[in-house]
Amino acid sequence: MNAILLTAVWGVVMMFSGVFIKSKTAPKYLAIAGIIIIFIANLLELNAFGIGVLHVNIDTKEMLNISSFNLSFLAVVFACTLLFFLLSGSDIEKVGDDVSEYFGLIFFVLCGVSLVSTYNTLLLLFIGIEILSIPLYILTGSDKRNLKSNEAALKYFLMGAFSTGILLMGIAFIYGGNNNGSFYINNLEMGEGPMPAMIAVGLVFMVIALSFKVSAAPFHFWTPDVYDGAPTVFTSFMSTIVKVAGFFAFVRLFENAFGKVQPQWQNLIVFITVLTLLIGNVTAVFQQSVKRMLAYSSIAQAGFMMLAVFALNNTAKEGLVLYAAAYSIATIGIFAVLIKMNDYTIDGFNGLAKTQPQLALCTTVFLLSLTGIPLTGGFMSKFFMLSAAAETGTRFWLIIVAVLFAAISAYYYFRVIQAMYFKEATTVVIDEKEITRGFKITLAIAAVLIIAIGIYPEFIIGWMYH
């Protein structure tokens, strides 16, 4: 509850700050302060400091379900956002004139994230998703002078609206199909037997809509274009925090509402997972632009996260939180470096290790994490996902397929590493002035975090059992 309220309030604060504060850099600090407050408030609610649960208590009519699992996920989200602000905050300032509005919108998105990770009714799921999406449409188009940004915004918007329609259709059928006439996801009275046709139809609609949100194939088509067209800072935010929130919503819905009839819809998820892994990994191979490659990589990673939806057990949930942390930190880190680059193609990274060894090292850690090399968080999270999928005891071939695609992923991630370390730079790769000491330190902290998750993931998983 703390998180939802504070994010909404801080969004408003940010908006007003634009009126009162004229400085272009000040909103960043305000936003950082805000996210720290939210983070701490969230931890307080989680009782992470051991001083008892501190939270705003509002009677939500059980429309929200606040558990330590949800809160630990939110903690990860806020921590990642903090990292995002620290690394890329100054780049938000460069997107356009309305800096404080951008920050405000980001806080609204976070509000949406908080909603979709704690919702207990389909209504709040719907509203949450919309709160999460609408600011993103705006942020995507925020680089107004850039036609690519415009185009991305329109594509995103049209397809997003389309998916909203599908989501609602799904909700309608689920509502119609269950005998309770209820929107509460844990009150649908799903028996063990075969689902009624209406529920089945609604379920498929929901799968489609949520797959769209998490950019799982074949509903991923917006992703590369939007991620590519959006201002890079916002791509960074969208492809990480927003995406993992989508997964969280996905898992919550299917665990609570349809967990009992899992065998009846697992085939859908398997189909989507395999297709996502295939399209994400294979298409990424040919990309020349790192930004676009990361877009496809985010699809590929989504394929892995789909395994959590496939498995829906405790390990899967732990794994999802881990995945959220590892994937977000790594991707935010890479994007933070990418933004500073003069050239977004892979060749643009040539020789980075010469001029900026620390940056190159950190980027390497991030890329290794995304590949899933041990000692990095990426490995641990993938490992949890695979374990979770294997624990179901069915379709073991799925995880073999998954690892084979993971092997392909090495192909494109390592191209960047090769460029940085083994190739000579032809032009100036990076604007030296942009790389402040603080930036380097933050990046290093991110890298250390990745390794910390890889070595001892229990410090995050531990939150879930507070």
Binding site: A217, P218, F221, F286, I408
Partner: protein, 637 residues
Amino acid sequence: MSNIFKFIWLIPLLPLLGFLITGLGRNFLSKTAAGFVGSAVIFASFVISVLAFLQVKNGDTAAVQYFDLINIKAFKIAFEFKIDQLSSLFLLIITGVGFLIHVYSTSYMHDEPTKDFSKYFSYLNLFVFSMLVLVMGGNYVIMFIGWEGVGLCSYLLIGYWFKNNEYTNAAKKAFIMNRIGDLGFLLAVFWLITKLGTVSYDEVFTAANIAKLSIEDITAITSLFFIGAIGKSAQIPLYSWLPDAMAGPTPVSALIHAATMVTAGIYMIARSNILYTMAPATQHVIAIVGLTTAIVAATIAIKQNDIKKVLAYSTVSQLGYMFLGLGVGAYTGAVFHVMTHAFFKALLFLGAGSVIHAMSGEQDMRNMGGLKKYMSITHITFLIGCIAIAGMPPFSGFFSKDEILAAAFAEHPLLWVAGVAGAMMTAFYMFRLYTMTFLGKFRGTQEQEHHLHESPGAITFPLIVLAILAIMGGWIGIPEIFIHGGHKLEAFLEPIFAGSNAITVKHEMSHNTEFLLMGISVLLSLFALLFGLKKFSNYNKQSDKENTGFAKVLEDKWYFDELYKKIITRPLRNVSLFFNNVIEKKGIDGVVNGTGKFINYGSRQLRWLQSGQVGAYVLLMVIGMLVLFILQLFIKN
């Protein structure tokens, strides 16, 4: 000096020390020092060998274990030496002849640079070491150590003049052909280990252990061992390395290819005689292979013009005789022939070396002739050697060869007929060689003639000693029919072959038959000898025609090398190239790279899905929805 057996480890160790000193010190040692060290260690070994021999003669034998080479539950292989009648006899031959060759070498190799001179001696020492390990070894693995060791040394010595690619090719050929045999040897050892869990002679040859082996086992083991022997002792089909091995310095040819290394196969079979006696099938094969080799090699020798080549083929031929002996169960005869052959063949080679030395490296007999007057000692000793190898009584070769032939006759008269034919050829080509070299007129260049001289003492001394041995060496094995109790060697070796003798059926021959056979073979050989002498005494280079027909076949060594090239070397190379170029590059690597290419291709194709058109995206999504709905609603899990 109560028990010399305590010191037998010195016998191989001394040459090893010599190897290390001359090898490591090749930059510091003078030629004299190197030659001295090299020869002295062999002499010391010889002395100990003699002492050991004397003790063995008193009926003492010993098997000494030093440490475990491999000791696991399944089996144990110890580093052990065995001194008995057989090995002590071989020790004498090896160290004795070896020593003479060392002495000879000090002079023969004197023109080499100091470093290479030292290197040469270190190789020689190492060779002697390996050979000693081979014969002293108390089990097959130790024997194998020496077995491969001599192969290595012969490789090093043949390729001694490594700048010449021909020579290194010969070295390579020798090693590889030996290795083919070694594989057979190894497999036999594996077989023994698998069946018996031991390779120690003392344990393998016990009745209890042999009883564990089926007749198939024994046949297989003996055949495999025989393959080893074929390689090492240059029998058909693995004989062709030996003539090529003449690329090495001549003393090396004498040492390796006459006196010691090639006899390893005979030693090994004699050592395992009991197994062979129990495997008559193998024995028949051995006899036939031996005989074939003896005759084929002899025919080739007739048409060779290189003095060393003739000797080399004669070696092959003589080895064939020894195998014939082994094949017909005349183990003593074979060993006897090994001994006599060591004397006269070393003598012949060294004599040839002396000639070559005098001729400034010329080896073609067509350019020699009339050397008699320039090199009297060499001439006389060489003549003795020739008579000995031709099997004229009472020279050593007569006794040993006769014993083999007698045994062959007892086995089957045809074997004897073929053997005699071979003996005739031997007499013929040896005297062809002798005549072309020493008799007639000198056919070389003026310059060569000017240089002709008798060799120095270090060369002639071994010749003289060996000539004496070539005459008298056979007297320890005079058959019963001449003197009662004359065959001292047989009596000496009796304990070794006792097991075999016990189970073989003795074909007793009447004395008359024996005399008759002896007479016929001697007469025929004498006839061939004289024919050779006559035919080539007026040899003229100009009148020598190009060989045609069968003679050409003989001159070209029955086209064995070409055959190998055609059926082994070239196909193997083609297969390898096929592996490398097709299977490896196109096949296996092609699949691996193809996977990468396929993914790349897929990537290029898949990205066309991402057309940028919202309409197309939605269409694809709708199709996806359709699929999912059908999957969920109409396909039952």
